[in-house]
Symmetry: C2
Subunit: 221 residues, 2 copies
């Protein structure tokens, strides 16, 4: 194992993980093995975080779906909670998703990085508060529009007429994020496309600037 | 203004705020004035964090409800996001709720405390992931039981037969937390009381140990 100096940036942290053989690459939809107590870090691609019931009742076993908890992009940490009623799972959301991992006691010996990483968790906490707020809306169309605006705040790439997501998202996955179903999301998306509020560009979902500004749950800090 | 040494514990931080006249006390249901960019800290009582639509549509203006985002107990920090589609609000959930506040650049000059505070935000992020997971359940009774178990994990005081919350929570507030209504929560609570899964002790809600273990979303770290 090569001796490597203490990392002090996120890029050096990824390099440190690679030098210590803590780097693995996944294809789209491949499960990413994780366990509680470790800290994970995607340095390429996108990780999808979901939860599902650990022991679904008999009536649910065939209809069981996961809940989408987050899409974790490059330079963002994630960790897994210990299984109880729910199991938390991670999948590569796109091809060539690369993940490094660390023990927390490795991270805490590098104070600058430790601070940097838990500051990102503070921002993710704010993101989750926005998510909880938008879930409180009774109309599915409003939950849908503010969920899309929230995703664009965090991940959207600006274009002339609005913002586009850098990765695909299925109607089923959107439904799993906002307590709805694939069928309902598909029906609402047809309406929104007719009104040119959303559209596809190379299979990626885009949202017009005006709806982004109107439905964004909170202004970013 | 008295000279005070740099605080290095949460108790000393509260003392520092008090020495700098940053301390205010609120009665039950009194709004707590907050603004984005500051860090708040309850040192007595409980703060209730909610969000509501900033500009409800005409059809909603009479039926508008808030969404419950959190109940913040002693020694836990909170902050407010900038208004957009939603407004975030804070109220004293119980009498004698006392809050101190700080500017972030005050906190960052005390590295030990800074780390301590954002570590609590990391734990709150995990709490929110549990909350999002339980909201994904289709049956309201399951959302209700796992929400109660989640609250007990964080705030519950152990008794022989289970756990009790240290503060009251109305059926309307529970409904606002799990996308349901006061009427539905009241109906389900009657059922749960008949089965002795929940009961009241001095007006405080208690949950039996077995349901706590069964419906707890995740094991705490």
């Amino acid at each position: 194992m090569s001796e490597s100096p203490s990392p002090s940036t996120l890029a050096e942290l990824v390099q440190w993980g690679q030098n210590h053989y803590r780097d693995r690459r996944f294809n789209k939809e491949e499960p990413i093995p994780t366990r509680p107590g470790l800290l994970y870090f995607a340095h390429e691609g996108v990780v999808r975080l979901t939860s599902r019931r650990a022991n679904p009742s008999e009536s649910e076993v065939n209809s069981q779906t996961s809940t989408l908890l987050g899409l974790i992009g490059v330079e963002r940490p994630f960790e897994i909670l210990s299984q109880q009623l729910f199991v938390m799972e991670t999948h590569a959301h796109v091809d060539q998703t690369a993940v490094v991992w660390f023990y927390w006691n490795e991270i805490t010996q590098w104070p600058t990085l430790h601070l940097m990483i838990i500051e990102i968790f503070r921002r993710q906490h704010q993101f989750q508060l926005s998510w909880l707020s938008l879930l409180g809306q009774k109309n599915t169309i409003e939950r849908l529009l503010s969920f899309l605006a929230l995703l664009m705040t965090e991940y959207g790439e600006p274009i002339e007429k609005g913002y586009c997501l850098p990765y695909a998202l299925t109607h089923a996955q959107i439904g799993q994020a906002i307590s709805s179903t694939r069928v309902t999301i598909t029906r609402l998306m047809v309406k929104l496309r007719q009104k040119e509020i959303v559209w596809l560009k190379d299979d990626l979902l885009c949202l017009d600037r005006r709806s982004f500004q109107q439905f964004r749950p909170f202004k970013p800090l």
